[in-house]
């Protein structure tokens, strides 16, 4: 898991990439190339990337923001939806 994180951190900031690893508290989802967060709550996080939007639904969702436009979402994620277009 540590290796995945370091790979994600070292990747170019603009490229979109998603990796998920199962852990004790649910899953840990690493996303790079994030432009903004359009919605944040315990049950849903909406993430905007270049040309697309990502919806993560679940329970007890937490988020960590890293320096290079990447985020890590951890918690009991139940559904991930990719939406075409920024809106």
């Amino acid at each position: 898991m540590t290796d995945n994180k370091s790979n994600v951190k070292n990747s170019p900031p603009s490229s979109f990439r998603l990796e998920s690893v199962k852990n004790r508290r649910g899953v840990s989802i690493l996303i790079t190339g994030v432009v903004s967060i359009s919605e944040f709550s315990e049950e849903m996080i909406a993430v905007k990337s270049h040309g697309m939007k990502l919806l993560i639904r679940g329970k007890r969702l937490n988020m960590t923001v890293f320096e290079n436009n990447s985020i890590e979402i951890s918690g009991r994620a139940e559904d991930i939806a990719f939406c075409y277009g920024k809106n």
């Binding site: 709550s41 007890r60 960590t64 436009n69």
Partner: protein
């Protein structure tokens, strides 16, 4: 969950309303400020990023908590004189206590009681409660060896407040203590010619110049005095002239083990007897490897050691390569091997004659030494009387 670097370098929590969370998070993302957003609506930001957060106008200062984590704890106790003075006092107490001898640990004594060794050490100022710096262990070692014939080797080490004493008792002291019970004969351990026989107990069965074979009776445990027969534990020194061949052979295709790589495996810090592991790397090892420990100690200019050790663990991997040896190398290697074998064989013997021959074989080189030596050839063989 707060990140470990946040905990060490300090962090603050920003309280926000749920509707502002996404916008603030986006701003932090754009400003490349690392943060952690928990589901209770609080954002955790590093202490050093707080000025940037305020400059961005993300939130008002009253929504930002006091410094937390290790740095926060240090900042909070900064003004508390009592805590600081207690810390300083306890540090002083630890330093002063490390200057005194707290314990003496003695190893290696079997027949000499520890109490008498401690009494002997007291003569040289080595006792509990004394200052460690005042102890001259080198002088104590030399003088204890001179004055006590029953000790053949002694080593005194100071480590923190503990004195470690390691010693070896002389062989005579040990032998005296071995109690021989029951009945026994002395039999020959080699095919040899008897050169010397001294009987301490029992009846000699051979004399000087006799040729004996392995297992022959040398000193009998049966003692006859007049008409009566007694049994005893036969004892004596029997020396014989032994002839033997020592062979050493080396293959031309030599499997050479060479170092392949060296990687850091772990780092430990020892403070007194406490061990703190800084890091440890787990990896799958496919080749044979050695763990090499590099220990770094710190000391004052006057030579007194600090109770702090750094232990660097390194993994050294090796690889095997088959190399073909030249004639010269082959002879040198076989010669070294033969020397080692001969030295091991003649460890407790007196060499009388040595003749060495060498020849190249199909696979490599072979050396043969014919040795004649004088050694102890008697061995106890216990028997039972019904």
């Amino acid at each position: 969950m707060v990140r470990i670097d946040f905990l060490i370098f300090g962090y603050r929590k920003i309280t926000l309303s749920p509707e502002d969370l996404s916008e603030v998070t986006s701003n932090l993302l754009r400003a490349k400020i690392p943060s952690s957003i928990t589901n209770d609506g609080k954002i955790t930001v590093r202490e050093r990023d707080i000025p940037r957060v305020i400059a961005l106008g993300i939130t008002r200062e009253e929504n930002i908590s006091k410094p937390l984590g290790l740095l926060g704890a240090i900042k909070q106790i900064h003004h508390k004189r009592a805590v600081v003075s207690a810390l300083v006092l306890s540090m002083l107490l630890v330093i002063v206590s490390s200057l005194l001898v707290w314990d003496i640990r003695i190893e290696g004594n079997e027949s000499i009681p520890s109490v008498s060794i401690e009494e002997e050490l007291t003569k040289y100022g080595i006792k509990k409660g004394m200052f460690v710096a005042k102890i001259d262990e080198s002088r104590a070692e030399v003088e204890i060896l001179e004055e006590n014939s029953e000790i053949s080797w002694i080593n005194i080490n100071k480590r923190g407040g503990v004195i470690y004493v390691k010693l070896a008792e002389s062989e005579a002291t040990k032998e005296e203590k071995v109690e021989k019970k029951g009945y026994s004969n002395v039999i020959a351990t080699y095919d040899c010619v008897i050169e010397e026989i001294t009987v301490k107990r029992g009846t000699a069965q051979v004399k000087k110049g006799d040729v004996v074979k392995k297992g022959d009776l040398l000193i009998s445990g049966i003692v006859s005095s007049g008409e009566s027969i007694d049994f005893c534990y036969a004892e004596g020194i029997v020396k014989g002239r032994v002839r033997e061949q020592i062979v050493a052979e080396s293959d031309r295709n030599y499997e050479k083990i060479s170092e392949k790589s060296e990687k850091s495996a772990y780092l430990d810090i020892y403070f007194f007897n406490f061990r703190i592991n800084i890091f440890k790397i787990y990896r799958k090892l496919q080749n044979k490897c050695d763990i090499i420990e590099e220990i770094k100690t710190f000391s004052f200019p006057n030579g007194k050691k600090l109770p702090l050790l750094l232990v660097f663990g390194k993994e050294k991997t090796y690889e095997k390569k088959t190399v073909e040896l030249s004639d010269e190398e082959l002879v040198r290697m076989t010669s070294e091997l033969l020397s080692a074998k001969t030295a091991a064989r003649l460890a407790n013997s007196d060499l009388l004659k040595l003749k060495t021959e060498g020849e190249f074989t199909e696979s490599g080189y072979k050396m043969t030494s014919s040795v004649v030596f004088l050694c102890s050839v008697g061995e106890d063989s216990v028997f039972y009387v019904q």
